[in-house]
């Protein structure tokens, strides 16, 4: 069953076709990987779906509702969360206070479900719980440190935690593995799996194919704003167009 489907999405910046009619759908509970060389329109795709950029053409359907041209906060409220490629934490707040913002949003307040529950639940405890789930050491000082003093690995997790606090149906991750060391990525992978087990659908935009292929159920390849392949990763990397566009023409 598809949770989100995109039909003929197009966006032009000046004379540049960032996206020219991309269609695909995401099934509930799966992990979809999106790959493509630099400038192929991956981030624009996320921006168009989550409302940060207005698409020129096409439609976005989420659980049957047409959410094209909705404003970003409204899209977030129905459970479509996203991370940013360039991390955007609230630098002047401590890490756990970063989560108060999504926890304060109408969606999280309605869904409740944290300790204390309901409208006036204990958001601080809820924030620490989520951070622990995402790999912050609960009894250390890390959750209480200012976001501006945290290393990249934690900031990437904080981005994910901010999405989780919304209790999302689907998360779009814009390069969560980039800038991380191999061991940090290795510790992120189980986390991604865990989110999937929790029933969250994930769309991962990634440059690091080896890591992506470990978790992704399906992969979609973009080039020059067009979808050039889609399917199981073994099929996608065998596709001659993908090889030519992305992995180079020579034999690997």
């Amino acid at each position: 069953m598809s949770i989100l489907s995109v039909e003929g999405l197009g966006k032009t910046f000046g004379g540049l076709n960032a996206l020219s009619g991309v269609s695909f759908s995401v099934r509930k509970g799966e992990i979809l990987g999106v790959i493509g060389p630099n400038g192929s329109g991956k981030t624009t795709l996320i921006n168009c779906i989550t409302g940060f950029v207005r698409p020129d053409r096409g439609k976005v359907l989420f659980q049957g509702a047409d959410i094209t041209h909705w404003r970003p906060h409204r899209i977030a409220r129905i459970g479509v969360a996203r991370t940013f490629q360039v991390m955007r934490p609230f630098y002047s707040l401590p890490a756990y206070k970063n989560l108060i913002i999504p926890l304060w949003s109408p969606r999280a307040r309605k869904e409740g479900g944290w300790r204390g529950g309901g409208k006036h639940g204990d958001r601080d405890t809820a924030a620490i719980d989520i951070l622990e789930e995402i790999g912050f050491e609960r009894d250390s000082r890390v959750p209480y440190k200012l976001a501006s003093t945290l290393p990249t690995g934690y900031l990437k997790r904080l981005e994910l935690a901010r999405c989780l606090a919304l209790r999302p149906e689907i998360i779009f991750c814009d390069e969560v593995f980039s800038g991380l060391s191999a061991s940090e990525v290795a510790s992120m992978l189980p986390l991604i799996e865990k989110l999937k087990m929790g029933g969250i659908t994930l769309v991962l935009i990634e440059h690091r194919l080896r890591e992506l292929f470990k978790v992704a159920d399906r992969v979609m390849a973009l080039q020059f704003g067009e979808k050039i392949a889609e399917g199981r990763y073994t099929d996608v990397i065998e596709d001659p167009r993908v090889r030519e566009a992305y992995l180079g023409i020579e034999e690997i």
Binding site: F52, R77, R82, F84, R88, I101, P102, W104, S105, R162
Partner: protein, 338 residues
């Protein structure tokens, strides 16, 4: 020689560390340490009219000081807690003043009703006017908010509205000078502590987050425009409150209520006092406003002295007086080996 090689280090005072947690309530001394500065401010402000009783002129300075402090708090709140640099102070005062005068003179509302009513209506109008430019940032937003008071004065002048250049006369005054002083002092204290309460609540965090990164706030399912307009409403309510009060003190509302002083002096006060903590805004006004009154003695030369003192503050204590005092209160310095 040792001093040259050593470096200064700052260490939290013992009492600051001890009074950090909830356990501070177990000791009177630590409770006093925490609440001392606040009590000092409250007591000092409330005693001011009594101490200045022999000087009627200075009792009137208290009033204008409090109005400036309200504007400085509003500016500090918008600029350092929500990230909107708003130069609309004179618009708030002007709107509040004119509305209070109209409500009092034409609608015959008593003072006790016309001030809150004018503040509410003024805040509503200001918010509506600022709403279209909320997506602007930094200096662009500042310029638009600076434009509105000019627009109002030219409008009043050109179309001879609301008494034209004569203004509206015959506004009721307060029954007594003590009441005049204490009303604005109590308003100031209520606004100061109320706003600080708001800022440590979750909605205050959301406002801080809007200043940090509005895109992430959007992605967290929160309508940034709504948060910003709420903040503008609160700030303009505070400013209009000051303006409405001023119209009743002067018993008159005229174009000079839109004077740019009301936009500029609060910024100078926040610069001197230090931004982001609201107390700094009040401290800045406590220094700047009496200073500018003292300097009246020098005639037109006072602007030069005023600027010199302002520059000295900015060069020598650029972190702001409040940040400096907080540091001294909470930490001590000592020489350590490098």
């Amino acid at each position: 020689m040792k001093d040259l090689q050593g470096r200064k280090e700052r260490i939290d005072r013992g009492i600051k560390v001890r009074s950090d947690g909830i356990y501070a309530v177990s000791s009177l001394r630590e409770m006093l340490y925490l609440s001392g500065p606040r009590l000092l401010l409250i007591a000092g402000l409330l005693l001011l009219p009594l101490l200045l009783d022999p000087f009627p002129y200075w009792k009137r300075v208290i009033n204008i000081l409090c109005v400036y402090a309200l504007l400085a708090i509003a500016f500090d709140f918008l600029a350092n807690c929500v990230g909107l640099v708003c130069l609309g102070g004179s618009m708030f005062v002007g709107l509040g003043g004119y509305l209070a005068a109209v409500l009092n003179v034409h609608a015959h509302l008593p003072v006790g009703l016309s001030i809150p009513a004018a503040a509410l209506a003024g805040a509503g109008i200001s918010t509506l006017l600022i709403l279209p430019c909320l997506s602007l940032r930094g200096v662009y937003f500042a310029i638009v908010t600076l434009m509105y008071p000019l627009l109002f004065t030219r409008g009043i002048e050109a179309f001879d509205l609301l008494g034209g250049s004569n203004g509206i006369t015959g506004v009721d005054s307060f029954p007594g000078t003590y009441l005049e002083n204490y009303i604005i002092l109590l308003i100031l204290l209520a606004v100061l502590f109320g706003l600080r309460r708001l800022l440590i609540a979750d909605i205050g965090l959301v406002m801080h987050a809007v200043k940090d990164n509005d895109q992430s706030v959007r992605a967290s399912g929160i309508d940034v425009v709504r948060i910003k307009s709420l903040a503008v409403f609160i700030a303009s309510f505070i400013g209009c409150l000051g303006g409405a009060y001023l119209a009743h003190v002067y018993m008159w509302a005229g174009m000079s209520l839109f004077a740019l002083d009301f936009s500029i002096i609060p910024i100078a006060a926040v610069t001197i006092g230090g931004g982001g903590v609201l107390f700094g805004a009040v401290a800045g006004c406590l220094i700047l406003v009496p200073l500018s009154e003292f300097l009246r003695f020098f005639g037109t030369f006072r602007i030069v002295l005023y600027c010199a003192i302002l520059t000295a503050f900015i060069v020598l204590k650029s972190e702001g007086l409040m940040a400096y005092c907080t540091r001294k209160y909470e930490q001590f310095e000592r020489w350590a080996d490098a």
